[in-house]
């Protein structure tokens, strides 16, 4: 392992994930949904990297492919210096101890007939850390750490509010002491008041357990609050990557600029200069040629429909894929 690569826990290089589209009588493959068309990113140990973009831009697909819940179509994923792109079987299984996910609606992924205690201890039991009974103390501590009452152990998921269920999901993800957690829209279903409770908890845990976090959300203000660095996605591509503050103070990509300007500010005295985009996001099955954003871009130039821009560094640690900066 080189010096260089140990700084990074995770390195994603030119990752693609396509879903086949089948049609006709024989259900032949007639096309692809290019959900993730080309993303490269590196996660430093202990940092939070935020992935932001609007629905359908490929965030969840990226998250699930990086954690190897899905098989990549192309590109490579390196975790702790080891290529995990093609892992299978027992090797993939043991990777799951190090990489865990937290989902938007933990309820959908929790068995309604399973007590919370066994929900949280399940991963430990599966990986042979002992029986449920033996692990009880450890699970109790975990539940307490994520802010659930002691009797939560004996209750069922439906007895909890949305925010508490998200705490159950977090406790379960933490159980195996993973190195990386991919949190996919973990607070999107919650009211702001409860959202802030869960965000605070995630931040505390990250420090305490020295976690690296890939934080996925469509809400840029939430992502900015959580992240050290942010990647902005549009139609399967990363269009800008920079420090969280730089993304907000000095957005370079016209899409990032529009995204920021669209967020309504909770202050009636600040009327923002809004960039209203025209039209809808194109289908990832039939993406535009050239820059994926050019049909809606207020700054589009003739060459934008021909050449697909690559992510290039324009300032220190600030990368953009836009012909305006080439």
């Amino acid at each position: 392992m080189t010096q260089e690569s140990t700084e990074y826990l995770l390195q994603v290089h030119e990752l693609k994930k396509y879903y086949p589209v089948r049609g006709g009588l024989l259900q032949r493959r007639v096309g692809d949904v290019k959900a993730v068309d080309n993303i490269s990113l590196d996660l430093k140990r202990g940092e939070t990297f935020g992935l932001v973009g609007e629905s359908g831009c490929g965030k969840s697909t990226a998250g699930r492919t990086i954690t190897r819940l899905f098989k990549p179509t192309a590109g490579s994923i390196t975790f702790e210096g080891k290529d995990i792109t093609k892992l299978r079987g027992s090797e993939l299984r043991s990777l799951r101890q190090d990489i865990q996910m937290v989902f938007q609606d933990p309820y959908a992924s929790l068995n309604p007939r399973q007590m919370v205690g066994s929900v949280v201890s399940e991963p430990l039991v599966n990986y042979g850390y002992g029986s449920e009974a033996k692990l009880k103390d450890e699970v109790m501590q975990l539940l307490e750490r994520v802010g659930l009452p002691a009797d939560a152990y004996y209750k069922y998921p439906h007895e909890f509010s949305g925010g508490q269920r998200q705490r159950i999901g977090i406790a379960r993800a933490l159980a195996l002491k993973p190195k990386l957690i991919v949190a996919d829209e973990p607070v999107s279903a919650l009211d702001v008041s409860v959202q802030s409770q869960v965000l605070n908890l995630l931040k505390e845990l990250q420090e305490e357990f020295n976690l690296t976090l890939l934080f996925i959300a469509h809400d840029l203000s939430v992502v900015k609050h959580m992240s050290d660095r942010i990647g902005v996605m549009y139609l399967g591509n990363l269009v800008e990557v920079a420090d969280a503050e730089d993304i907000y103070r000095d957005p370079k990509h016209p899409y990032t600029q529009a995204l920021i300007s669209a967020i309504p500010q909770p202050d009636p005295r600040k009327k923002s200069d809004r960039i209203i985009l025209s039209g809808d996001v194109p289908s990832p099955q039939n993406p535009p040629t050239g820059c994926p954003f050019h049909p809606r871009c207020p700054k589009a130039m003739p060459e934008c429909s021909a050449d697909k821009p690559q992510l290039k560094e324009v300032n220190r640690d600030h990368r953009v894929s836009c012909l305006l900066y080439e």
Partner: protein
Amino acid sequence: MNQQEPLLEVDGLHTGFTIDGDMHYAVNNVSFSVKPKEVVCIVGESGCGKSVMSLSIMDLLPKHNGKIDKGAIRFQGRDLTMLSDKEMNHIRGRDISMIFQEPMTALNPVLTIGFQMDEVLMNHTDLKADEIRRRSVSLLDQVGISRSDQIVNEYPHQLSGGMRQRVMIAMAIACQPKLLIADEPTTALDVTVQAQILELIQKIQDEVGMAMLLITHDLGVVAEMADRVVVMYAGQVVEDTDVDTLFHDPKHPYTKALLRSIPRMDEKQEELDTIKGIVPSLKNMPQQGCRFVDRCPEAMDKCREIDPQLGEEAQNHAVRCLLYDASFPNEQKQRGVGS
């Protein structure tokens, strides 16, 4: 001061649901008013009674278990709660119309967009058959739908979420209503699409000259759109004032806590402020005292005993909190000792 007669006056409204044989109020003694052309936002966490309140105005409550138990809803002076179904049908869609979070719940999936729009115009206007389709197309133009002459022949599922919401708006404004009720109209949309729709709503509101009751849980949307804001908590109005005062001089501890819990884009915050606990469900509603007391950072012992009343804290600023209750002795106002 604007002395204009209100267009809509909700007065002591109690709307309840029968659950296990008992009546529980989801809207409990709610009063507020909307003036002509005014935009009033109703804000509060989910479960505070915002939707039940708007369904009460439209007489769209689930008939099997929900009903208005007390109070009046006066629209241009007429009490809507006293009207027959037929009279209410006449008002709905023509004088007052409504748009929802998910347009698919209001659009019929097996009928074309044009058919559904024509129907509204047929029911509520005297337009002749050949004029109706032309009007439907021009309404779609007005809400910024390109290819409107083709879209009329398409079905709801062929459109994106943002387009469907535009169609809903077109249908809602078809008869130039005096009041538009919009219940979380942009909550299901992406932020750039939300920006398009909010801009459209503002433009249309201006063109039609209608008032709007906009229901949202998003304080950013409130700041953007409202003239006046009504904050609801657990079925009650806890604060009611103009938008500038709400954001720059909020009084109720609930309003203040809501404002503090939003992540700020323009600041770097280590920790976010939170509101502990959750909104009580109908069956767990405190029977006495302030409903926010268990979550309130400024709670006093007395808050558990005395039902706070919605009182004028200043002109045009009503608050339901003992801290601002003039009849409650000042020397007993010790914040944060009762929690």
